[in-house]
């Protein structure tokens, strides 16, 4: 088997006395999706920040294409082909789609101080790069702010793919989206995977992770609950583990007990009349 694109072995991170992450191991292969699942505060953000180069790990090993690294900045990660799409997407809403797509890496024509952005090339490249991802935009001149949340996510993904990312890290790409939009974004995640990228998908929704994922890393309170191949786990089991197994059952029990017993119809009517009476009294 070829060396994985990314691999972490027993990595840990502490902030002063707080142990944010310990003994987490997983791999990211080309053409596969590794999902990182966990509830709030489970250490998902810390892990992706280590992968993205925003934090440096304190313990364990981080290997990029088999080579141990200590990344000191997101720029360094980017140079190694690790692109991260954070939740705010790094787009400027008032600027057009193509200007956002090339922001920071604008193609230019002309000489010295008189060089200009190659608008035609930029527009065409944006359109074709989006089309390659199966994203069909109406108009690349429209401001990004007029796109829907899912479309914006897709533009950010397409941008990372276009600029040569080998590994794509997506931070909660479906968090703020409706059911349909989330489905669309997952389709593009699959598209990126099929183009041979290694994808790290962070989410707290197992229903989003399971259809596209090849491997599932479950985090809880900074520790790994294990890294499972898709063949070894079912959606139901994934959901159960994520919610904390026995804890979920206890919660279900608790909720069931507290369910309000419906009152008989007559009592309800009486109540309504009473309240109406008291309201009339209050008015007079």
């Amino acid at each position: 088997m070829s060396t994985p694109l990314l691999e972490v072995r027993n990595v840990g991170k502490r902030f002063g006395g707080v142990i944010a992450l310990r003994e987490v191991s997983t791999v990211v292969n080309a053409g596969e999706v590794t999902c990182v699942l966990g509830d709030n505060g489970a250490g998902k953000s810390t892990l992706i920040k280590i992968l993205a180069g925003a934090h440096c790990h304190d313990e364990g090993e981080y290997l990029v294409e088999g080579e141990p690294v200590r990344l000191s900045s997101p720029r360094e990660a980017l140079d190694r082909g690790i692109a991260t799409v954070f939740q705010d997407l790094a787009v400027v809403p008032l600027m057009s789609v193509w200007r956002n797509f090339f922001l920071g890496s604008e193609p230019r024509v002309g000489w010295g101080p008189f060089s200009m952005i190659d608008r035609k090339k930029a527009c065409e490249t944006t359109r074709s790069a989006l089309a390659d991802m199966g994203i069909d935009l109406r108009d690349v001149e429209q401001p990004v702010g007029t796109l829907s949340g899912g479309e914006r996510q897709c533009v950010a993904i397409a941008r990372a793919v276009h600029f040569g990312a080998k590994v794509l890290i997506l931070d909660e790409p479906t968090a703020a989206l409706g059911v349909k939009q989330a489905g669309v974004v997952l389709k593009y995640v699959a598209q990126a995977r099929d183009r041979g990228l290694g994808v790290v998908l962070i989410t707290h929704n197992p229903h989003h992770a399971y259809p596209v994922g090849d491997r599932f890393l479950l985090l809880k309170r900074g520790r790994s609950l294990g890294c499972q191949e898709k063949a070894d786990i079912t959606l139901a089991e994934l959901t159960r583990q994520m919610a904390g197994g026995a804890e979920l059952e206890a919660l279900e029990h608790e909720l069931r007990q507290e369910r309000v017993v419906p009152e008989p119809a007559g009592a309800l009517e009486k109540k309504v009349n009473n309240s109406r009476l008291s309201k009339e009294r209050a008015i007079s």
Binding site: P74, R75, F86, D88, L89, A90, V91, V92, P93, L94, M95, R99, F102, L103, G104, S105, E106, R108, S115, M116, I117, R119, D136, R138, D139, P143, G145, T146, L147, S148, G149
Partner: protein, 346 residues
């Protein structure tokens, strides 16, 4: 038979010319300018005469040069309240270097240019390093320069004005560049009008066609996003502050070479007029949106109104009332259009 179908997306309704115009940030300013122009053309005799037109174009020109600089800075998400006083400071530095220290006018101009760029860079550096609002930082610079202008001028000349630059070497040639007149038909146009057109043209080209322009919109629209994709935010903003200072140097040079005398208390209060012209021209106060052409037209509205009121023999006291009403109207109109242009879908 196969018909070659155009590759226009069927979801794109044909956008009318009117709708496409509505998206432009300078639309409000163009409409306002047309109204003001028509009004004074009809109600006064001198407004359309060559001499009359030259007068209001001249009035608009120096304001316009500054408005363009301030507009670029505002698109980049910052303010410069020291811009008004800077026009006096640069003129004073030039005049003192030339008349008191005996430098050639060209050298004096070079010296004041360096001074202006240094002040601009300082403004930008302090704003970026401390993270304080540029409003506060440049307000401090505004007050400091105001004091310096008076203090240093009195130190050198014993009065609050510097004059006598016309007898210094290089005045003729420098004056040709900054303070000559151009004959167009029967109209004697000040060269400052050409500077105004040049500055507006170059600024528009930079904003819409160059990489730096792209960065200006980006740092004004969303600093964190710009930083994440590798835009050098600090450099971009410092250069913008320096651009405003450069514009103030151009205006200061025009003033000192044309009038040959500069008062130490000039320029105070102008900074708000620059901002008003930029806002009338479609700049958002929050940054990330606006146009250089719009700011130039905003300044044109100013010039036309200020001189139009004189031609109509009204009391000039009404000018300020007009200013306030126009600012409010422009902001309301621009807001309405922008919302129409960019209705945000979720």
């Amino acid at each position: 038979m196969a018909v070659a179908t155009p590759t226009v997306d069927e979801r794109l309704a044909r956008v009318g010319v009117l709708d496409r115009l509505l998206v432009r940030p300078e639309l409000g300013a163009v409409l306002g300018a047309l109204v003001v122009f028509t009004f004074f053309s009809v109600f006064t005799d001198q407004f359309l005469s060559p001499a009359g037109a030259a007068t209001w174009l001249d009035d608009a020109s120096t304001l316009g040069i500054m408005a363009v600089g301030v507009a670029m800075l505002m698109i980049g998400g910052e303010f410069d309240l020291s811009a008004g006083v800077m026009t006096a400071s640069t003129a004073l530095v030039t005049a003192i270097l030339a008349t008191q220290l005996g430098l050639n006018v060209w050298l004096a101009l070079g010296g004041s240019l360096l001074f202006a760029l240094a002040v601009g860079a300082f403004n930008g550096f302090v704003v970026m390093r401390t993270g304080l609002p540029s409003f506060i930082v440049t307000l401090g610079m505004f007050l400091a320069l105001q004091g310096l202008n008076l203090g240093v001028t009195r130190l050198f000349t014993g009065s609050v004005q510097v004059s006598g630059i016309s007898s210094v070497d290089g005045y003729e040639s420098a004056g040709f560049l900054f303070a000559s007149t151009v004959q167009i038909g029967s109209m004697t146009l000040q060269v400052s009008v050409l500077w105004w057109l040049l500055v507006a043209g170059v600024a528009t080209w930079v904003l819409l066609r160059t990489r730096f322009g792209n960065w200006i919109f980006a740092v004004g629209g969303s600093v964190t996003s710009a930083r994440q994709v590798g835009v050098p935010v600090m450099r971009t903003k410092i250069l913008l502050f320096m651009t405003t200072a450069f514009a103030a140097w151009v205006v200061g040079s025009i003033n000192i070479l044309r009038f040959t005398t500069v008062q130490a208390n000039q320029g105070i209060g102008l900074e708000l007029q620059f901002i008003v012209a930029a806002v009338v021209g479609g700049c958002l106060l929050t940054g990330g949106f606006g146009s250089a052409i719009g700011a130039a037209i905003g300044a044109l509205i100013f010039g036309m109104t200020r001189q139009g009121i004189v031609f109509a023999r009204w009391d000039t006291d009404w000018f300020m009332l007009f200013l306030g009403v126009m600012l409010l109207a422009a902001v309301l109109v621009n807001n309405a259009f922008r919302r129409k242009a960019e209705r945000v879908r979720r």
